[in-house]
């Protein structure tokens, strides 16, 4: 591994020579030290849900740099390593540039024309619908698709093809947060905004490694803490000590899944110490229990909490949790007067994810720390457009655009009316949720699926089980993406699409903020914007099905110039018509308004005047939220007008502690949990093609507590076998005081078949939100071998004499066996 003295001298000499001569990089910088560009074009970062505003530098029609937008309220100009580098893969040689097709999934792909590709896609979907009915086709989208794309695809499927089989990967990341907000507050999405951070006095971060998953937002919390070390408190609750813990005053490390007991115990202490806000409870709150949402009393709630005294909860939680730590956390939470909670997958990816969300919301309701500056119960979103596109745009099987439940006849018919299609055209029954959808593929019930900007073959839990279904030759799989992925390996038809900045559209980030990205460069030859693809496909489908309504749903967009006019027309319909009068009213946020704003608009923004000022910073607050102001009748400060709560109250829920679907036992004694690293994004199909990021995080590691490692004789970089009831993977060890004893933690981005952790995670899901429990399953581990030289792996394609093939050890024939 080392270098010899001779080699060292040789290297140094060469280095010195290079230093003296210098390797000039002419034209890199302008006179002001900035990258030399022809223009800077404004847009939004492609990765996490923070919504950082960026400008892409364009030189000779090519992207050459990215910088932050200093006056954007989301990021104030700051970017993480992914955000500042993503221009680098836009011209990567691995970009998909031709439609590729194969009839059988064991065959190589042939290059075909767009005309033929769209014909094939239309033909296969039409064939399935004619033979097996509308529910034999499905759409699986993404929190990375533009709002316009999600909206149009779901419009085609629901209004045109008469199926609610419309899902997307946000089901895997924030469905429990949606369930939590709707059941606690009566309406989805946070009340407050990032700007509460600079006013907050206590931060309660639970189930979130935001230092890596939301680094630019974490930066704001870090600065708030470091600038006010004695005033601001940070509590980090997580079974794993993570980079987020570095700013924590108190780290609560509990056994995975026991946080429901912890959160109930904090509520117990708050009431016992008389820290609850009695006026707020009296005016704005009711107490609920059970599936029937039965209203109960405050005393019933107190009685329920008797099961979670700090002493009892500490026993359930294990780890470093003591009764005193619970009391301290409760004190800091309740008495600051301005507490902000943040969470992500640690709460959401659980079989009791909705309950966990409710219990955090409970603490805020109980202490009245909502609707005031510096206080909020804030779910962080993992993707750039899970909120704006999927939650708001109608991208899940049970919701229509603008937060309308499918099952609500009145609202469903309203959508039909706005679309100008016959009443009854949209089915009243929700479609398959994600796990049910891929199970239906396994079962042969779904015959054609369109997968857009996501890679379920890698990102689904228990992925091998569902790769069997996708590998079936009687299931037609279309994938729209920019790079080969583990999912294109299972496709019949790969449609090369345009990347952000190669098309125009809106992303809506975690804080109800919609921001426009303008087209800055052309996509590679023959890669197309998805809106154009969808419109052209629907036109063909309409003919093949002999159904004019299918055309009717895309008619307003037919023939529009795809770079700007087409997305503008789709946005105008969605924001101008579908959101008008709804809680996420964006009818004032026209493209013209969005282009004037440095950082977009927060809904509700029912008029252009409001939108031009940035929209609504705080929901439900009279005098700030235009809807609350309009609805207020007396002297109330707040109007909780959420549609799901007819009493217009916030609901405190009595939720018991319940463990995970699969807890460790004698046979599988470890908790296995998974998560992100800062360097890579999701399945690494994009970030893995940026050399700096790939070198920074070339492959997954399994983090093991030093005491477990010592007991099992595992040393750093040893290859560890991780086995669950679903299978085995082999991953190098990182011995670190991260996960607690009895727990291992694996990064999920790695595509290598030996290291792809979702092959072994569990697909149990929350009965309410249907979100899977990625965060907890049982595993056993052992040293498999000593350190081995490993190579990073990213799926690529190559052209052979017989056609295009994937470069991977994945063998689809293995997955076609029964």
């Amino acid at each position: 591994m080392g270098i010899t003295r001779r080699e060292f001298i040789k290297t140094t000499a060469a280095l010195t020579a290079a230093s003296m001569v210098g390797l000039k990089l002419p034209g890199e910088l302008d006179a002001q030290g900035m990258p030399e560009v022809d223009k800077w074009v404004r847009g939004t970062c492609r990765f996490c849900g923070v919504g950082c505003r960026v400008e892409m530098g364009i030189k000779n029609g090519k992207p050459v740099a990215i910088r932050g937008v200093p006056n954007a309220k989301t990021n104030f100009g700051f970017l993480c390593m992914k955000g500042m580098l993503f221009y680098k893969f836009m011209r990567h040689p691995d970009r998909l540039t031709k439609p590729l097709y194969r009839k059988k999934k064991t065959e190589p792909f042939k290059e075909i024309s767009w005309d033929k590709a769209l014909d094939i896609a239309a033909n296969e979907f039409a064939k399935a619908i004619k033979k097996y009915g509308p529910n034999s086709v499905a759409y699986y989208g993404s929190g990375q698709a533009l709002t316009e794309e999600t909206y149009l695809f779901q419009k085609i499927f629901r209004g045109g093809l008469r199926t609610n089989n419309v899902e997307g990967n946000p089901r895997l990341c924030m469905a429990s947060a949606v369930g939590g907000y709707i059941t606690s507050f009566g309406a989805d999405e946070p009340m407050g905004a990032y700007e509460d951070i600079e006013k907050a006095l206590t931060f309660f971060i639970i189930g979130s490694n935001m230092a890596e998953a939301h680094p630019v937002l974490f930066r704001r919390i870090m600065n708030r803490k470091l600038n006010n070390p004695d005033i601001v408190k940070v509590i980090n609750a997580d079974p794993r000590v993570s980079p987020t813990s570095r700013i924590a005053d108190l780290h609560l490390q509990f056994k995975p899944g026991t946080d429901l007991a912890l959160l109930n115990a904090m509520a117990y202490v708050i009431i016992k110490e008389n820290w609850h806000n009695k006026d707020f409870l009296k005016n704005y709150v009711t107490f609920r229990v059970g599936k029937e949402k039965k209203e109960v009393t405050f005393d019933d709630y107190v009685k329920h909490l008797e099961n979670y005294t700090p002493e009892k909860a500490a026993k359930i939680c294990g780890g470093n949790i003591t009764p005193d730590k619970i009391r301290l956390a409760a004190k800091w939470f309740a008495t600051s007067g301005r507490t902000m909670s943040f969470w992500t997958m640690g709460l959401n990816q659980r079989t009791r994810g909705v309950w966990a969300n409710n219990l955090v919301n409970n603490l805020h309701i109980l202490t009245g720390q909502l609707g005031i500056p510096g206080a909020d119960s804030f779910s962080l979103t993992g993707q750039p457009n899970a909120c704006g596109g999927v939650r708001e745009g109608g991208g899940l099987c049970h919701i229509l655009p603008a937060h309308r439940p499918v099952v609500n006849d009145k609202l469903r018919h309203e959508v039909e009316r706005l679309w100008g299609i016959p009443e009854g055209r949209i089915p009243p029954k929700p479609g398959y949720h994600t796990i049910a959808m891929f199970q239906a593929i396994n079962d042969g019930k779904i015959k054609a699926i369109w997968i857009h900007t996501t890679s379920p073959a890698q990102s689904l839990p228990n992925a091998d089980k569902y790769r069997h279904g996708l590998a079936r030759d009687d299931v037609f799989v279309v994938v729209t993406d920019i790079f080969p992925t583990k999912t294109t390996e299972l496709a019949n038809l790969i449609l090369p699409s345009a990347f952000l900045f190669e098309k125009t559209g809106v992303y809506g980030c975690s804080e109800r903020r919609s921001q426009l990205t303008l087209k800055a460069v052309d996509p590679p030859p023959e890669a197309k914007p998805e809106l154009w693809i969808a419109v052209e496909w629907a036109k063909r489908l309409s003919k093949k099905l002999k159904d004019p309504i299918v055309y009717k749903v895309v008619e307003p967009f037919d023939g529009k110039e795809p770079g700007f006019e087409l997305p503008k027309a789709v946005w105008s319909e969605y924001a101008g018509k579908l959101t008008k009068g709804r809680d996420n009213d964006l009818s004032g946020a026209t493209y013209e308004v969005l282009m004037k704003r440095p950082d977009g608009v927060q809904w509700p923004a029912p008029t252009q005047e409001i939108a031009l000022k940035g929209g609504t910073y705080k929901k439900f607050v009279r005098g700030i939220d235009p809807i609350a102001t309009r609805l207020a009748k007396g002297n109330e400060k707040y109007v909780f007008y959420g549609e799901a709560h007819k009493d217009h109250k916030l609901w405190i829920w009595l939720r018991p502690y319940k463990g995970a679907a699969e807890e460790p036992d004698a046979e599988y004694p470890f908790y296995l949990s998974t998560g992100r690293v800062i360097d890579q994004w999701h399945t690494s199909s994009m970030t893995g093609r940026i050399p700096e990021l790939l070198q920074s995080a070339p492959y997954a590691y399994v983090e093991i507590n030093p005491r477990d490692a010592m007991r099992l004789g595992i040393k750093p970089n040893d290859i560890v076998e991780i086995e669950t009831r679903r299978g085995k993977v082999h991953i190098p060890a990182k011995i670190v005081e991260g996960p607690m004893e009895g727990m291992v933690f694996v990064y999920w981005y790695d595509m290598d078949e030996d290291r792809m952790i979702n092959r072994v995670t569990k697909d149990a899901f929350d009965p309410g939100s249907k979100q899977p429990e990625f965060k907890i399953c049982a595993a056993r581990i052992r040293k498999y071998s000593g350190p081995k030289p490993l190579k990073p792996f990213i799926v690529r394609m190559k052209k052979t004499r017989k056609g295009w093939v994937h470069i991977d050890k994945f063998n689809i024939k293995e997955f076609q066996k029964k």
Binding site: E7, L15, S19, K24, L29, M34, G68, C80, M81, P691
Partner: protein
């Protein structure tokens, strides 16, 4: 072997440092001492924690360090390595400040690290 390698890297850093004064703020690309493909798969900080502990600690305890701003974001990687980063790297996050360096009242040769100590980047030197 590992400690030998670390010593080598340390020596390289010292030697490179002695010649670095000739650079005009990162307009020149440098060569990192040669590493094997396996070594290139290590993080910069993984090696420099031992090779240059003072620099590592300055960075690790800085706001850049706490917020996971990594070595390569300023210095690049092996194909694009700059001992003294081009100021355009700072501009990715600090565009306004970089532009402000070049207003007439500021010296045209002024850099971020003229005032902010390198790697720790405290508010100003001496504070």
């Amino acid at each position: 072997m590992k400690s030998k390698f670390i010593k080598s890297v340390l020596w390289s850093v010292i030697l490179i440092g002695s010649f670095s004064a000739i650079y005009a703020q990162g307009t020149v690309k440098d060569e990192h001492p040669e590493l094997s493909p396996e070594e290139k798969m290590m993080t910069c900080r993984g090696c420099h924690k031992e090779a240059t502990p003072e620099i590592y600690n300055e960075w690790y305890n800085s706001r850049h360090g706490i917020d996971n701003v990594r070595c390569f974001q300023c210095h690049g990687t092996f194909s694009d390595f700059h001992k003294t980063p081009p100021i355009s790297k700072c501009a990715a996050c600090h565009a306004k400040e970089v532009l402000n360096l070049h207003v007439p009242e500021n010296s045209p040769n002024k850099t971020c690290w003229s005032c902010h100590p390198v790697h720790s980047f405290r508010v100003h030197k001496g504070k």
